[in-house]
Subunit: 266 residues, 2 copies
DNA sequence: CTGACTATCCCCCTTTAGGGGGAATGGCGC
DNA sequence: GCGCCATTCCCCCTAAAGGGGGATAGTCAG
């Protein structure tokens, strides 16, 4: 497996200032957007201005099955391709998506073979996309711990040659676009469900932290130097506070509430 | 809890081209760097050029305990602060770090209270940093699924006022710097240990998702319309893939790897 | 002082998870 | 075709989690 060849540019010298202004305008507009439709319109405009045919700002999840409130999908790919994509559940192993888990930087699709080792199935995906008229493109990763992975891509129709000059600009545009869309989706999701903030006691936190690391009640008791029943009691009352019945839910609620960090449990 | 106020700028109009060239130069140099020492030197130079006193390009892990090969720590914070930071294991719940899990964009430290709800302990951290002479700063998140979270920060001495004009430039500089450092560290670590990305099968994902919502094996079986033993089997093999023994750890690994979203489980 | 909360410990019980074995089917890659 | 993997199902057993019921002692605010 090779490494992502970090490349960067804002366009040739005489164009760079102009490109920069394009980015500035996009970011300002994205920050002002109050609906996902507005963000999508901005994506459409900017992709045209930069000479792209397709855009895709998506969370890598099953958009048919999940609660759509918290996951975003803004794209203008050919419908048959989208159908096939969802049908085969490609979102979890599509080579472009997998490559986006290997870097924080924007990358050209034609560089993907240098970034990850492609399985035959993944090579088929690239060919399959080509058949649907999708050529080369650029993808900006958008991964947040504890959230579904996502990305913002811009692509060309088959046969067109990718201009890499704007990859620096696209890095910024993609990042800001995704954040804007994500915030709007989260806002919409938040309005439905209100979650009151609950804090755990220090000792409860100790137990929850260790439970989150996969320790059993007995192990936690041994580590903390108290009886197993006491640990059980702490975890019982912690679950009661969050109003959940299972250990798994307790840990996830504590992580979501910021009481413990996901990285502290791994 | 408010939302991150995405802001962007390359500096005032007459300075923007100059700032852009600074970014371009940094990125070019970062791409050419062949050792972590070179990257650190670049960080030192660029932080000076942009008027910062401190830089910190770090993975959010225990740098004393873990295998240092794959985790990066380049920083010039005051030694007492670093000592205290590691001593109290702040890397896992430091408010700046936690805030960096909520966005992909560079953010000012003074905006953190608008991004996440600070616990009392986290407020103490900010005061404690101030006591050590560390004032405001800007952090660029660097989170990759399946890897330790990280970030690249630039900070000022206490009392100085943060100039937000360069936050767009810093977004790029931080991202490229981190990727460069990460690649170099990985290259060095690749010889010893290989940490491959692990994917779950579609059916395993179905089971893990429901298990993460607190369902029992029997309930999952009923929902999916298969036998309980099959569900157990899927969860067994899923746990085996991640090399973990407990259900809780399985869910957390899947969440951290971006296979399922935390918000889909609550 | 009293009531609320915390932390500690003890008992009972049922359900669930985890650790061992197996086996049959179908798809895909080499 | 052969091997690997995903998916489905079956058996065994022990360990752990969850749902009840208690008790004692300390802190802290009203």
């Amino acid at each position: 497996m090779g490494q992502a060849l970090a490349s960067f540019s804002f366009g040739v010298q005489e164009e760079s200032l102009q490109t920069f202004r394009l980015v500035q305008q996009f970011v300002d507009a994205a920050n002002r957007a109050s609906t996902l439709q507005q963000v999508e319109l901005l994506l459409e405009q900017i992709s045209l201005e930069m000479g792209f045919d397709y855009y895709a700002l998506i969370h890598h999840v099953d958009h048919r099955a999940r609660n759509k409130a918290s996951s975003v999908r803004l794209e203008n790919y050919p419908k048959p391709w989208v159908e096939k994509f969802l049908e085969k559940k490609m979102y979890s192993w599509d080579p472009i998506h997998v490559a986006s888990y290997a870097t924080n930087l924007a990358f050209a699709w034609s560089d993907v073979p240098d970034m990850i080792t492609l399985t035959k199935r993944q090579q088929d995906v690239l060919r399959s996309a080509l058949d649907e008229g999708i050529g080369d493109g650029i993808t900006v990763p958008a991964n947040l711990p504890g959230e579904a992975n996502g990305s913002c891509s811009f692509a060309l129709r088959r046969g067109k040659t990718l201009r890499r000059e704007y990859i620096g600009a696209i890095q910024l545009i993609g990042s800001f676009a995704f954040q804007s869309a994500r915030n709007l989706a989260l806002e919409a999701a938040r309005s439905t469900a209100t979650t009151g903030r609950v804090d755990l006691s220090p000792r409860q936190l100790d137990c929850v932290l260790l439970a989150g690391r996969g320790k059993s009640d007995w192990e936690i008791a041994t580590i903390l130097g108290i009886k197993e029943d006491t640990v059980t009691q702490h975890l019982d009352s912690a679950r009661e506070r969050y109003g959940v019945a299972k250990r798994v839910q307790l840990i996830l609620r504590a992580v979501h509430a910021g009481q413990i960090a996901l990285t502290d449990l791994l």
